[in-house]
């Protein structure tokens, strides 16, 4: 399915919300092969100076990519990236933490749409300059 006609310059895409719990991080660790203990062990995370267990930056980016897929009807992604500027601290409880993915269509040219993303958790931006370029 192509990106269709919803990707017009300036279009604000519907904010997507995802809840992240410890169990999601364990699942992501196993699936991705990223077994860094800062993503599942409070002891190790605090030993290296982090506030607690943090989500894999790539997990947050995977959620952002899922939002892009939802908005564009699974359009082909030709570019995706972000800086991991602030950690998403995931508490050891049943509630977890929410990650919000908002997006705006920044440009459409030569058959490619650039979507600028805003990814926040607990009111703070957690990704720096996240963006996706899709075939429109």
């Amino acid at each position: 399915m192509s990106a269709g006609t919803n990707l017009e310059v300036g279009a604000e895409l519907v904010t997507q919300r995802y809840v992240v719990r410890r169990s999601d991080l364990v699942r992501y660790a196993g699936a991705s092969g990223d077994l860094n203990p800062i993503h599942w062990s409070d002891r190790v995370a605090t030993e290296v100076g982090l506030p607690g267990v943090i989500a894999h930056g790539m997990y947050t980016l995977a959620l952002a990519a899922r939002a892009v897929a939802t908005w564009t009807g699974d359009a082909e992604v030709v570019e995706l990236g972000a800086k991991f500027t602030a950690p998403v601290v995931v508490p050891d409880d049943d509630t977890g933490v929410e990650v919000e993915v908002a997006g705006t269509v920044a440009s459409v040219e030569d058959g490619l749409a650039t979507i600028k993303l805003t990814v926040t958790s607990s009111g703070q931006k957690v990704l720096g300059m996240p963006k996706a370029v899709v075939r429109a």
């Binding site: 995802y18 894999h56 790539m58 897929a69 992604v77 991991f84």
Partner: protein
Amino acid sequence: MPVDASLVGRTYPPTRPYTVSEAKVRELAATTGADWDGGPVPPTFPIVLAFEAMNAFLEAEGVELARIVHGDQKFRYERPLRVGDVLTAALTVASVRSIGGNDVIGTTSEVRDVDGALVCATSATLVHRGAA
């Protein structure tokens, strides 16, 4: 400092060939709550290969994974990944800087198919945290 500027420009041997399987794509998609049913392979999938290349690099240089925090990641795709692709990733150290007691290591990894064609070029910044 386990990583120093003498490594800049070094390319590590490619990872062993990796076959993209339906089961793995579904498993990774499910981590985000998505129910993958044979559509496009999610664009973050090549991290599986990039991560293997990064682990080999860290092991070769004696760097402890727990001291690494991911600073950024970018992917540029020459074509979408497909189930059945047999891929390798080769990591090159692009830069090493020391900032506030941390080593900031810039890496690039090229993901290629069995014919040697570039499928995805990815870059990652790895922040090696000094003693807390």
